[in-house]
Subunit: 337 residues, 2 copies
DNA sequence: TTGTAAGCGTTATCAG
DNA sequence: CTGATAACGCTTACAA
């Protein structure tokens, strides 16, 4: 088999503890011996066996990441960040794809625990009773992304969904839009999704516009469902002048439906979105959207989990990163009236 | 600490070997004892420590995946497949993001080896001397995706790039296009990229059209670079009537440039692509493209690596999956002439 | 500063 | 069928 610490010790005429000391420089070792050992290590091409090491230190240097779907720009960028930062701390990430199914998520949560990951970053569309059950019965460090679980003492990193949604809606109103449809996630378990709805409603009310619930549809993060939702919108007697979709993918689904139905965006109907993934810039018209610092969200999440692993105290549970409204080409002023 | 095999043994009044036997059912154990042990396991909530187990079995149940970038639909879908199938075999995947940099890739290749993953699935834009060096000095099972390394005895799963490219070009020609630009990857180290070029050239020659190298540009998998490349195309005296980009993202970059410059796609210029990621359907016009069975490519790759891990013989080194040309809205016949 | 030896939690060998 | 006991490769008191 591969060369072990024993081989090195023998070759260098020292004890294995000494070798251990030089590779971890955990205790003083005389310079002469240190040199000798390092030379042997190099010569033999020795690399410590992390498994054996883990067995005694009880550390795996692994953090698990559970996501509902890898195949989209948002997750990709978050994952990029997590992976990159994790590496600099000597951690590897092991990836679990739940397909947004609660059963799968619970399964992975348990699996990862038994696999001895040191912490878990958890992205989910909604938080259920089963999740809460798992979390309360476990002391595994967990941080959530874009989902609030502070009531269970779990940290989350996110953006202020109420404010962002409020700002966007207000922006729409400033541009003369009065009849504004909202295509949102739709789960009642999604605190931030609810905040988006509240922000939307607040801006409307503040402008003296009554909230018309028939204009609030559900797209569940899906381009296709947003497409369908938009079809429904187009069958209304009085069309909205703007559609606010809470995801780039949903906005695109919506625009596609509009375009396919012969409408021009933004000339006939404006569509704005939330997140600002690469999609928002790739698509034509480019999306006016709420920019989330996606990479940073991932970066903060991994840093938090490492803090928790190290049992450092977190000064708060919700880490809110700044968002910005970025104007591009999918929104225009209402001119006629 | 957690409950160990010892605790179970003591509680059940048997030896740890017996417990080990029932959890692995590696050797016959009397029904009575088996029942008793299982009851204790359940009662104590015992789960075997995989680290300790790995230390003796030399198996980590981990396969590493190195990708140049996670944040795109292609990788996402490949990863989805890998992750999903891996799980069914009891493997987890650990993810490494190389940003397409050779140094990073080599770094991860080594890191993963020392981390004792049992196999590596490797996606890279190009294969360099450094890679070859690593591979020749290692007996780590490796499989490549969409890159040919058969000369080093490394298996690859892919699509027939020559044929696909040939078919698409021929298709374009059948639609009346004679002046066809190609925006391709561009690395000379990329065998399949070269095959694409050859397929393109072959179809052209067969149709008696001279290959004009000034029409062959490089986009390096990037939307932005394809955008730039298209700018160059638009500055030519004689514009092509069609652009063949070898990636959906590049095709979109190209179309964006065209649209931003006032051209209509496909009315003024047709643009076709390669891969058929979700992007191809999300964009308007929807992309006429060569469909690759992306999920299946990932699935085959992970199955191959598991086969290699189990030292089963592979009957070949290149696993070519079927592609299809899918017609959508970004290509139209040339009418005038 | 260095070495000895006792684990870490399993599996595997070998008696019984 | 069951039980000791020796690994696995490493870290870490405890001695020297």
């Amino acid at each position: 088999m591969a060369v072990t610490i024993k081989d090195v010790a023998k070759e260098a005429n020292v004890s294995i503890s000494t070798v251990s000391r030089v590779i971890n420089d955990s205790k003083p070792v005389s310079d002469e011996i240190k040199q000798r050992v390092m030379e042997v290590i190099r010569r033999l091409g020795y690399t410590p066996n992390p498994i054996a090491r883990n067995l005694v230190t009880k550390k795996t240097q692994l953090v698990g990441v559970i996501v509902p779907d890898i195949a989209n720009f948002y997750m990709g960028e978050v994952l990029n960040a997590i992976e990159e930062i994790a590496k600099t701390y000597g951690y590897d990430i092991i990836l679990c794809n739940s397909y947004g199914e609660i059963k799968q998520e619970i399964h992975y949560l348990k699996l990862l625990s038994s696999k001895q990951v040191e912490g878990i970053i958890f992205l989910t569309h909604e938080l259920s009773e089963e999740h809460r059950e798992f979390f309360s019965g476990s002391d595994m460090p967990v941080v959530m992304i874009n989902r609030d679980a502070s009531d269970m003492g779990i940290a989350a990193v996110t953006v202020n969904h109420f404010d962002a949604s409020y700002e966007m809606t207000q922006h729409l109103i400033n541009y003369g839009h009065k009849r504004i449809a909202l295509i949102r996630n739709g789960s009642t378990k999604d605190v931030f999704g609810i905040e988006q709805l509240e922000g939307y409603a607040a801006a409307l009310e503040e402008a003296g516009i009554e909230v018309d619930l028939s204009l609030v549809l559900e797209g569940h993060f899906s381009t296709e469902l947003a497409y369908e939702a938009t079809k429904n919108i187009l069958s209304m007697e009085k069309l909205p002048t703007a559609i606010f979709a809470t995801t780039d993918a949903m906005a695109i689904g919506s625009i596609n439906c509009l375009v396919d139905s012969g409408y021009k965006v933004p000339d006939d109907i404006s569509v704005v979105s939330f997140y600002d993934t690469e999609l928002a810039r790739m698509y034509r018209p480019q999306l006016t959207t709420i920019h989330q610092p996606i990479y940073d969200i991932g970066a903060v999440a991994i840093r938090l989990i490492i803090k928790k692993i190290r049992k450092e105290e977190l000064d708060k549970l919700i880490f809110t990163l700044p968002h910005t409204l970025v104007e591009r080409d999918s929104l225009r002023r209402v001119v006629e009236e």
